[in-house]
Amino acid sequence: MEVDLPQLKKWLDEDVVILFADRNEKIPLISDLKLLSMGAEAYIFKARFMGVEAVVKWRFPKNYIPEELDEKMRRSRTKLETKILWKALSLGIKVPTPLFIDLDAGILIMSFIEGESLRDVAEKIDKDVLCQVMKTVGSYAATLHLNGITHGDLTTSNVIVAKDGVYLIDFGLASFTKRCEDMAIDLHIFFRSIESTHYRIEDVAKKCFIDGYKQVVGDSKTETLIRAVDSIRLRGRYIAARKLRTEWVG
């Protein structure tokens, strides 16, 4: 992966002075930058930020989008993501803690979470453990939804199983909303990520997720939402279950 590091380094080329009781220490704002992965819109680095382990998410400029539009989008998404991370933290959901943002550069630095992505471990771990993880994810989703937040990209890649619990990451597409429809899309996306990548454990995964969801919002709300999910699914292309126009009559 070709990464335009100099540009990022320029943005973060600062020193900070840490005051201890007995001495002052000057350390770089950021060091040990190492590329972890590249998402659809951002590079994810692991780094030391003011001496602590952190993740740097840099929404890189995209040469295939007109500059003006690109800047506007990177700025607003970085801002929104940070806001939502704070909100999620305040709701008691395990997410990375935002440490630093630079809206002009599209940089968000947050705490590093040591663990494995659910995508990688889902089929390896014990069924009971998997169920517990799915339940937690379900309860997180429900809590977010109750508070008018959708994750926007709820997939198994965005769940981290860490020693101290289950974390949700990548709120890059999250938004504030009141529409039931948007919440249903979260579920739809999560179910599809299970169906397309983890079809072997599909049944357990879905059931436990729904159980966790129910624990937070109750049975009836959950069922309404699941009906909304079904209706969204019928909107895809060429769904056989959707009635043909000729079948509407009578």
Partner: protein
């Protein structure tokens, strides 16, 4: 082995004859297209047109290939997805041929055929397939025996967005002039981006109907049409690019294949090339001639399926207007 394929899912009646040869595998590629005088494709009008022309197109294909009727080993037909009345024309012709010639009939999914001919034409091995046409917007990847849909439009298709906007604002039809969509052309003189056009990406899915409404509303409010075209196009294209990038990361594939009528857009292609470069992936574009509906893709896919032993009883060879690409088991892979 020689297979004849018939395509008639929307506005094209295409007949292709192919063989197993590595090079020059196309023996015949005949097609005729229904062009509406105004508005979109009317299924009844289109099917009537196709039915009238079908015998002539089939005859011409045999002529071009210098083959006798009896030389083909199997008849392949696109049984769906598509417009019912149109599909039935092709299905009827195929059943008649198969029954008369006593040759096996092979069912082909139209979308799978688009992908298979794309693979054959581009030489790509295992790409993320971006299927963009008037009726489809989907990002597809092969995983365990199926072309699985990773993302798609939740309402209208990308081509539909562009064409409808063009039609409502009298930019078209025709929608494509000299290889360029009229909306692309119109966007060239756009100067600024308009605010509050919805950019809808939900996970791996996109949606364009809100964008169309906003664009049309802006047009009726008297805003500059070039700015509208530019804003609408950039937002629409970039949402597809984002979903594709997401799929590339998710599946860890290293190839992207553009297929379908809209894939012919030079502007879209350039954007994909730039995006793919970032992800160390290569882009293959299916040549426009084979990116649109044609009989060759049905024949070729039919050949692959037939070699793996797939045939269908004439009596059960009925059309399926709704037949998702991920319902088909890819037995030849």
């Amino acid at each position: 082995m020689i297979v004849l394929g018939i395509e008639s899912s929307a506005h094209t009646f295409g007949v292709g004859i192919v063989t197993e040869y590595k090079e020059n595998f196309i023996l015949a590629d005949e097609r005729i297209q229904y062009v509406p005088k105004h508005g979109g494709i009317h299924p009844r009008e289109s099917s009537r047109f196709l039915a009238e022309k079908a015998p002539m197109v089939i005859e011409k294909a045999f002529e071009k290939a210098s083959l006798q009727l009896d030389d083909v080993n199997a008849i392949a037909v696109a049984l769906g997805p598509g417009l019912g009345p149109c599909l039935r024309v092709g299905a009827t012709a195929a059943r008649a041929l198969a029954s008369f010639l006593k040759k096996p009939l092979v069912p082909v999914n139209h979308a799978v055929a688009h992908i298979e001919i794309g693979l054959k034409m581009t030489g790509l091995q295992d790409p993320v397939v971006v299927y963009l046409s008037g009726g489809n917007t989907a990002v597809i990847a092969y995983v365990e025996k199926r072309y699985r849909i990773f993302g798609e439009t939740l309402d209208i298709a990308l081509g539909n967005l562009l064409d409808t906007f063009a039609r409502e604002t009298s930019l078209g039809p025709p929608y494509v002039v000299a290889g360029m969509h009229v909306v692309d052309k119109c966007a060239e003189s756009g100067k600024k981006f308009l605010d509050d056009f919805p950019y809808v990406v939900k996970g791996q899915d996109v949606a364009f109907s809100g964008l169309l409404t906003t664009a049309l509303r802006a047009y009726r409010r008297g805003l500059d049409i070039h700015d509208i075209c530019l804003t609408m196009r950039e937002i629409a294209y970039n949402s597809v690019l984002e979903v594709t990038a997401r799929c590339l990361m998710h599946t860890r594939k290293k190839e992207v294949m553009l297929v379908g009528g809209v894939a012919a857009s030079p502007i879209l292609r350039e954007k994909f090339a730039k995006m793919a470069e970032k992800y160390n992936a290569i882009v293959g574009v299916v040549p426009p001639q084979y990116a649109v509906d044609n009989g060759v893709m049905i024949a070729w896919t039919g050949l692959l399926a037939f070699k793996s032993g797939l045939t269908i009883d004439l009596r059960s060879a009925i059309v399926k207007q709704r037949w998702r690409v991920d319902e088909v088991e890819i037995i030849w892979k």
